[in-house]
C-alpha cells in the first residue's frame, strides 16, 4: 500500500531521515519507534505529504505522491495527531463530519457511519455536541480517531496518538485502538516512543535511530534476535524501569 524508495529528508545540513526503503502492506499495523529526533514522525509526514522528500519517492497504492494527486490521496488516508488536532470552533460532530460535508457525502450514510464508529471507539453520544475545549484528553483522541476513519480510508496514520494522555486513559484507549485495527482491514502506521505500546499494537515494529532504520520485524524478533546493541538497549531500558 505505502512504499518509501530511498526517501530522505534534510533540513540544511541536518538529516532528519537518511535515504530509507520501507513498505507498509495490507491490513497490518506497523509501529515506528525510537528516541526523540530519530525520524519516526518525519516518515509519517512524508506519507501524508506535509513535507516533501529531499531525495527518493513516496508511493501510495502505486502512485508516487505529487502536488497533482496529493489532495486525492490524502482523502484516502486518516490522520490522528498527539493532541487530536480538533478545530476549536467546531463541535465534536462538526469536526467529524467536516470532510464528508465538504465533499457532499449523503447525510444518511454519514450518520450511520458515525454511529458505527462511535460504538467502536466507545464514545458517549452526548459528547458529540460538545466543543473540543469541553472534552477530556481521551475523548478528544476518540473524536479524532472517528474523524480519521469517517471517509473509510485505506490507511490510518497516527502520530503519538496517546502521548498526551494520563496512564489510565492511555491503557483504555490502547485496548480500543487494537480492537479498531483488527476490525477494520487497513494499513496502519503508528508512531510512539513506548516499547510496550509498540509490542501490544504492532504486527511489525520499525526501530529508528538518528534518521536510520536500525531493525524492522516483530517484537519477538527484536527481542530475541537483535541486530544491534542499540535494539536490546532500547527494549531493556523500558523494561528495567518497570521491574525496578
Amino acid at each position: 500500500m505505502i512504499q518509501l524508495h530511498g526517501a530522505s529528508k534534510r533540513f540544511g545540513s541536518f538529516a532528519a531521515l537518511h535515504p530509507t526503503d520501507l513498505a507498509f502492506e495490507g491490513n497490518r499495523t506497523t509501529v515506528l519507534i525510537g528516541p526523540s529526533g530519530c525520524g519516526k514522525s518525519t516518515i509519517l509526514r512524508l506519507i501524508i505529504g506535509l513535507t516533501e522528500p529531499s531525495t527518493g519517492t513516496v508511493q501510495f497504492d502505486g502512485e508516487i505522491l505529487s502536488p497533482q494527486n496529493l489532495l486525492r490521496l490524502r482523502r484516502r488516508m486518516g490522520y490522528v495527531v498527539q493532541e487530536g488536532g480538533l478545530f476549536p470552533h467546531l463541535t465534536a460532530r462538526e469536526n467529524i463530519l467536516l470532510m464528508g460535508t465538504h465533499l457532499g457525502r449523503p447525510r444518511e450514510e454519514m450518520r450511520r457511519q458515525l454511529e458505527a464508529l462511535r460504538e467502536l471507539a466507545r464514545l458517549p453520544a452526548d459528547v458529540l455536541s460538545r466543543y473540543p475545549l469541553e472534552l477530556s484528553g481521551g475523548q478528544r483522541q476518540r473524536v479524532s480517531l472517528i474523524r480519521a476513519l469517517m471517509l473509510q480510508p485505506d490507511a490510518l496514520l497516527l502520530d503519538e496518538p496517546l502521548g498526551a494522555l494520563d496512564p489510565v486513559a492511555r491503557a483504555a484507549l490502547q485496548t480500543e485502538l487494537k480492537a479498531v485495527f483488527q476490525q477494520l482491514n487497513q494499513t496502519v502506521v503508528l508512531v510512539t516512543h513506548e516499547m510496550a505500546e509498540a509490542a501490544y499494537l504492532g504486527d511489525q515494529i520499525v526501530l529508528l535511530r538518528e534518521g536510520r532504520v536500525v531493525q524492522a520485524g516483530s517484537f519477538a524478533q527484536l527481542r530475541d534476535q537483535p541486530t544491534d546493541g542499540f535494539v536490546s538497549e532500547f527494549i531493556n531500558a523500558q523494561r528495567r524501569l518497570i521491574l525496578e
Binding site: L50, R74, V81, G85, P88, H102, Y131, P132, L133
Partner: protein, 499 residues
C-alpha cells in the same frame, strides 16, 4: 495556501462605489449651480447671498459651505465640483495665477477665461490682509504701524497657516519690513482671536472686514509700505455654467461696500445663521426658521453613518483578503503591512488634500470615503494576518492533512479561527473612522463634522458640541454594537477558551 480569490464580494463593492458616484453625478446634474465657500464667515455669507441671487434669477442653487482654502476651492471649480465661489483679486493674482505683477481686472478676467473660468465685477469692498493686536497692548507698547514691530522681536505671533504660506504672506512681509520676530507659530483663524484675548499671542493676521476686529477691540497696524495688494471681492464661476449664471452673479457687482460687509459678517456671527445674514442683503427681516436641531442631527448622523459604513465595508472587502495574503511569510507580507502602516502615518488632513488633487475624486463624498477606507485598512489587515498566523501549526497541518483544498482550509478553518482577531480589527477601524469622518466636512462631504467646523468658525462652543457629542456617542455605540456582534459572530467553541 494559494488560490484565495476575492469572489463576488469585491465586485459588489465596486458596483456600490459606482452607484455612489453615479447618484452623486446625477444629483449634480439636476442642480446646475453649486456654490462653494471657504472656511470663514465672510465666504459663508457671500455664498448664501449668491444662492439668493441665483434663485431669484430662477436658477436652482446649492451651497457647499466651508470646503477648505484657496487651493481646494480652485480645484473644485476647475474640476466642476462647484459652479462658483467667492474669491479676492489679490488671491487670484498671488495664489491662482501666481503672477504678482499688478494687473487690471480686465487682464485678470482674460487670463482666467483661458482656463474656462469667469470673474464677476468687483462686489465693492476690499478685504485685504491686516496684522491686528489688542488695542490696549498696542497702546502700551506704542505700536501703530507694521514698521514699529521691528523694535519688538519678542512679541508672540500666531498666524493662520494660509498666511504663513502665501506669496503675499508672512515671509515676504518680514523681508519687506526687515522684521525678525522670534516667536511665530501657526494657529487656526478663529482660535487666534481667543488666543489674542487671553494673551497667549500678541499679534495675528486678519481680514480687514472681519467682524471680530470690533468685537475683540483690536487695532489694525498700518501697512505703511503698502505691502498687501488689493483684495477686491469677486465671484469666480465656470464659463460653461452658461450666461444666465454669469449675468445673475454679476448683479452683485458694486452692491457691497466695506461697512455693509462688516455689518453682515457681524450679524452672521451674532446670530450664528449665515442665511439670515444673507437675507439682510436682500433687505429682508431674516430668513424663515431654519430646520430644527433634531432634524439637523438626524441628517448629519445619517450622512456620517453612510460615510463610515460604506468606507468600512470597502475596508473589510479589501483588508481581509490583503490580510490573508499578508499572513504568509515573505516579502509580499512585508510590503502589504508596511504599505498599510505607511498610509496610517499620513496625517488625515494631508491624505484628504492628496486625494482631492486626484482628478477622478476631487471635492466629493467619494474622496472622503476613499480616505476613510485607506485609514481603516491597517487594523483589519494586521489583525487578519496575525489572527491566521496565531493558529497553532498542528491545526494548520491537520487542515491540510485532512485533504481540504487551500481555499476550503481558509474558509472553513483559518478565517473562523481568526474571526475574533479580525472582528477586533474591524471594530478598531470603525471607531477610528467615526472620529476621522468628522474631517469629511472639510471637503464638503457632510456628516457630524459640519457643525464642528462651523462652530469652530463661529467660535461657538454650543455648535461645536452639536457635532462633537453625537460623534463621541456614535463611537461608543459602535464599540457597544461590535461587542454584541462578537457574541453573535464568534463561534461558541472559540469563546469557551476566553474563560
Amino acid at each position: 495556501m494559494t488560490g484565495f480569490k476575492c469572489g463576488p464580494g469585491l465586485s459588489r463593492a465596486i458596483l456600490l462605489a459606482a452607484f455612489w458616484s453615479a447618484t452623486d453625478r446625477a444629483w449634480a446634474e439636476s442642480r446646475p449651480a453649486v456654490i462653494g465657500s471657504k472656511r470663514f464667515t465672510e465666504s459663508y455669507v457671500l455664498a448664501e447671498i449668491a444662492q439668493g441671487v441665483l434663485e431669484r434669477a430662477g436658477i436652482p442653487a446649492e451651497v457647499r459651505q466651508g470646503m477648505g482654502g484657496t487651493i481646494i476651492l480652485w480645484q473644485a471649480l476647475r474640476q466642476g465640483a462647484v459652479t462658483c465661489y467667492p474669491e479676492y483679486t489679490g488671491t487670484i493674482l498671488q495664489e491662482i495665477l501666481k503672477d504678482p505683477s499688478p494687473e487690471g481686472p480686465d487682464q485678470i478676467r482674460s487670463r482666467l477665461g483661458g482656463l474656462g473660468i469667469g470673474m464677476t465685477g468687483e462686489l465693492g469692498f476690499d478685504n485685504t490682509y491686516a496684522l491686528v493686536m489688542k488695542r490696549q497692548r498696542a497702546r502700551d507698547l506704542g505700536i501703530r504701524t507694521i514698521d514699529d514691530l521691528r523694535q519688538f522681536p519678542e512679541l508672540a505671533v500666531g498666524l493662520t497657516h494660509e498666511f504663513l504660506e502665501r506669496r503675499d504672506g508672512w515671509e515676504p512681509l518680514c523681508a519687506r519690513y526687515g522684521l525678525a520676530m522670534r516667536q511665530v507659530r501657526g494657529i487656526d483663524h478663529t482660535l487666534a482671536y481667543r488666543a489674542l484675548a487671553n494673551g497667549a499671542i500678541d499679534l495675528t493676521d486678519a481680514y480687514s472686514t472681519d467682524a471680530k476686529i470690533a468685537e475683540y477691540d483690536l487695532v489694525t497696524l498700518e501697512d505703511d509700505l503698502h505691502f498687501f495688494p488689493e483684495y477686491q471681492a469677486v465671484f469666480l464661476f465656470r464659463l460653461d455654467a452658461g450666461p444666465q449664471v454669469a449675468a445673475a452673479l454679476n448683479r452683485m457687482t458694486g452692491t457691497l461696500n466695506a461697512a455693509r460687509m462688516i455689518h453682515l459678517n457681524a450679524e452672521a456671527e451674532r446670530t450664528h445663521d449665515y442665511s439670515l445674514a444673507a437675507s439682510l442683503y436682500f433687505g429682508g427681516r431674516g430668513a424663515g426658521p431654519s430646520a430644527s436641531l433634531a432634524a439637523d442631527l438626524v441628517r448629519w448622523t445619517a450622512r456620517h453613518l453612510l460615510l463610515v459604513g460604506i468606507s468600512l465595508l470597502l475596508s473589510i472587502l479589501i483588508g481581509v483578503p490583503l490580510g490573508v495574503w499578508a499572513s504568509r511569510p515573505g516579502w509580499v507580507s512585508q510590503l502589504i503591512l508596511g504599505g498599510a502602516s505607511l498610509i496610517q502615518t499620513i496625517p488625515s488632513l494631508a491624505l484628504l488634500a492628496l486625494l482631492v488633487s486626484i482628478p477622478l475624486l476631487g471635492i466629493s463624498p467619494a474622496t472622503a470615503i476613499v480616505a476613510l477606507l485607506l485609514y481603516g485598512l491597517l487594523p483589519i489587515v494586521r489583525n487578519t494576518a496575525s489572527g491566521i498566523q496565531d493558529i497553532p501549526p498542528p491545526l494548520r497541518e491537520t487542515a491540510a492533512a485532512l485533504g481540504l483544498e487551500p481555499r476550503a482550509q481558509l474558509v472553513r478553518i483559518f478565517l473562523p479561527m481568526a474571526s475574533r482577531s479580525i472582528l477586533t480589527g474591524i471594530k478598531t477601524s470603525a471607531v477610528i473612522n467615526v472620529g476621522t469622518a468628522t474631517l469629511a466636512a472639510l471637503i464638503g462631504a457632510g456628516g457630524l463634522g459640519e457643525p464642528i467646523l462651523s462652530g469652530l468658525n463661529l467660535n461657538d462652543h454650543a455648535t461645536i458640541l452639536e457635532g462633537a457629542i453625537p460623534a463621541a456617542l456614535l463611537a461608543l455605540a459602535v464599540q457597544f454594537g461590535f461587542d454584541l456582534l462578537d457574541r453573535i459572530l464568534i463561534p461558541k467553541g472559540l469563546r469557551l477558551g476566553q474563560g
